[in-house]
């Protein structure tokens, strides 16, 4: 069976897998963004806490994905829970680091000016500091998403959802007629998804980065 025949025969299954892959990555990214920005906001003022946050998220990223998933299985079982936990944890580092760098990079004079016109602490954070720190945070989100695409594929080994299942099905049936088609469709599908997400982020950047600070 040629690759194109395979695609048209299995498009139902492939689309389901692709959708699940994208939705798992997307949901974990939303979670990671919320948690990551929160950690950034809470820690960027203190040198010590900021460094601790970056160091500990960097440590998580150093851990190979298969090993982290392996450690989560005894606690959370197989399937979706370890996948979501692992993906969210891996998504944190780029976001936390860029949030802290971005927030620390905001010109103190601007914050001072905002204070001077009577803005409260929360207003300064929401209307001055976070918008100015948004471009690097968005970059962090892009990097994290690319990474999660690949890690989600590995998570399929722990019965996680997504296109990784195609790849592992291919590995399990090495030598069979469809092994190559399965692996190829899974791999290419993930690349296509990653590029699509990236394009969406570029669009989000166009829409959400204030005109005045666009590079």
């Amino acid at each position: 069976m040629s690759f194109w025949q395979y695609l048209s025969n299995r498009h139902q299954q492939l689309l389901t897998d692709a959708f699940q892959h994208a939705s798992a990555v997307f949901q974990c990214m939303v979670l990671a963004t919320v948690i990551g920005v929160l950690i950034g906001v809470l820690t960027y003022r203190s040198d010590w806490a900021g460094n601790l946050a970056v160091t500990s998220t960097a440590t998580i990223l150093t851990i190979p994905s298969l090993a982290l998933i392996g450690l989560l299985i005894p606690v959370l079982g197989l399937g979706v829970p370890p996948t979501v936990t692992a993906l969210t944890l891996y998504g944190l580092l780029p976001i936390v680091r860029n949030a802290i760098v971005g927030l620390r990079g905001v010109d103190p004079a601007l914050v001072d000016a905002a204070k001077g016109i009577g803005m409260s602490r929360a207003a300064r954070l929401l209307r001055v500091e976070l918008p100015l720190a948004w471009p690097p945070i968005l970059t962090g989100i892009r990097v994290a998403t690319q990474m999660l695409m690949g890690i989600a594929a590995v998570a399929a080994y722990a019965s996680g959802p997504g296109l990784g299942n195609e790849i592992f099905r291919g590995i399990a049936s090495l030598g069979s007629a469809n092994a190559l088609n399965e692996v190829l469709s899974g791999t290419l599908g993930i690349i296509v998804l990653a590029l699509l997400f990236d394009a969406v982020y570029v669009g989000i950047g166009r829409l959400t980065i204030p005109r005045g600070i666009r590079a």
């Binding site: 003022r45 040198d47 960097a58 150093t62 298969l66 005894p74 914050v111 592992f168 291919g170 692996v183």
Partner: protein, 291 residues
């Protein structure tokens, strides 16, 4: 994705808060950073190796290993677990993993650094954007998919696994090297040419020393990536610690799974720690505060 570890601050917490404003530290080597910091960035300048940094990670890792060892020796193992863990299997897998990581890192450096240097020479400079674009697509490629394709193409075995690991890590290190060489102030290169240095002389005496921090960061990235990708070698019959993890999952034997995972984690953190120490020791003296 070079996990970078800023040195532990020695000052107390509150000292960095000036009247509720974000404090800008000029004292110990930190400079104002541009708002856009690329994530693959040179490790920020930091203090030389302190004893806390030297001791903390190994002590924690040793404690984790000891706890795991005590736990594994004190629980009852059934025959499947004995099969997976006895007869030096654990040592064999660990050794395979170290070998996979070392060999693949060697090849990554042998390929990526010369190609990176070549790409920044004048004649090939036009090709560089193509490579960067390729590197971006490469980043989107899942390691497991790449490995599976190679296995179908080349057959199973450690050789295929190493090729896969190398292919996956070459592009990040390559783009790191190119970025490092490009970041060098062109006036320095011009000045060197101006005092009559030859092109190879400029490369060896000016450009490469200045790019050392970024190249070292690339080496560390490669090592950490490779330890991780090597866990996937088991799917291509390449052995390694991934073998313990997968057999733990497949046979539903948690002790095997946990032992494999813990050893992988400890190995990854140890390698990263060694690389970070090497990174700081090998950084040229004058470059502590540089781009």
């Amino acid at each position: 994705m070079s996990p970078d570890r800023p040195g532990r601050s020695t000052r107390p917490d509150g000292e960095h808060d000036v009247r509720g404003l974000a404090f800008r530290d000029d004292g110990d080597g930190e400079r104002d950073e541009p708002a856009y910091e690329p994530v693959v960035s040179p490790a920020r300048p930091k203090r030389k190796v302190t004893w806390q940094k030297l001791v903390f990670t190994p002590v924690v890792l040793a404690a984790v290993l000891l706890a795991t060892y005590l736990w594994i020796t004190n629980i009852h193992l059934d025959s499947i677990e004995h099969n997976s863990l006895d007869n030096g299997n654990v040592q064999l897998r660990l050794w395979q993993h170290v070998k996979l990581t070392a060999i693949s890192t060697f090849w990554v450096l042998v390929i990526a650094i010369p190609v990176g240097i070549a790409l920044t020479r004048r004649r090939l400079r036009k090709v560089a954007p193509v490579v960067t674009a390729l590197a971006n697509i490469g980043q989107a490629t899942p390691a497991i998919g790449l490995l599976a394709l190679l296995v179908i193409w080349l057959g199973i075995g450690a050789r295929t696994a190493i090729i896969g690991i190398v292919a996956y890590a070459v592009l990040p290190v390559l783009s790191n090297t190119v970025a490092g060489l490009k970041a060098i102030d062109p006036t320095l290169v011009e000045a060197a040419r101006g005092i009559g240095m030859s092109a190879p002389g400029v490369l060896a005496k000016i450009e490469l020393p200045l790019a050392v921090p970024l190249i070292l960061a690339g080496v560390r990235t490669a090592l950490v990536l490779n330890v991780g990708t090597a866990t996937l070698a088991t799917f291509g019959g390449g052995g390694g610690l991934g073998d313990l993890i997968t057999s733990g999952i497949v046979n539903q034997r948690m002790p095997v799974l946990i032992l494999g995972s813990v050893l992988t984690v400890v190995l990854a953190l140890l390698v990263d720690w060694l690389a970070s120490i090497a990174e700081q020791l090998m950084r040229p003296r004058g470059l502590e505060v540089s781009a």
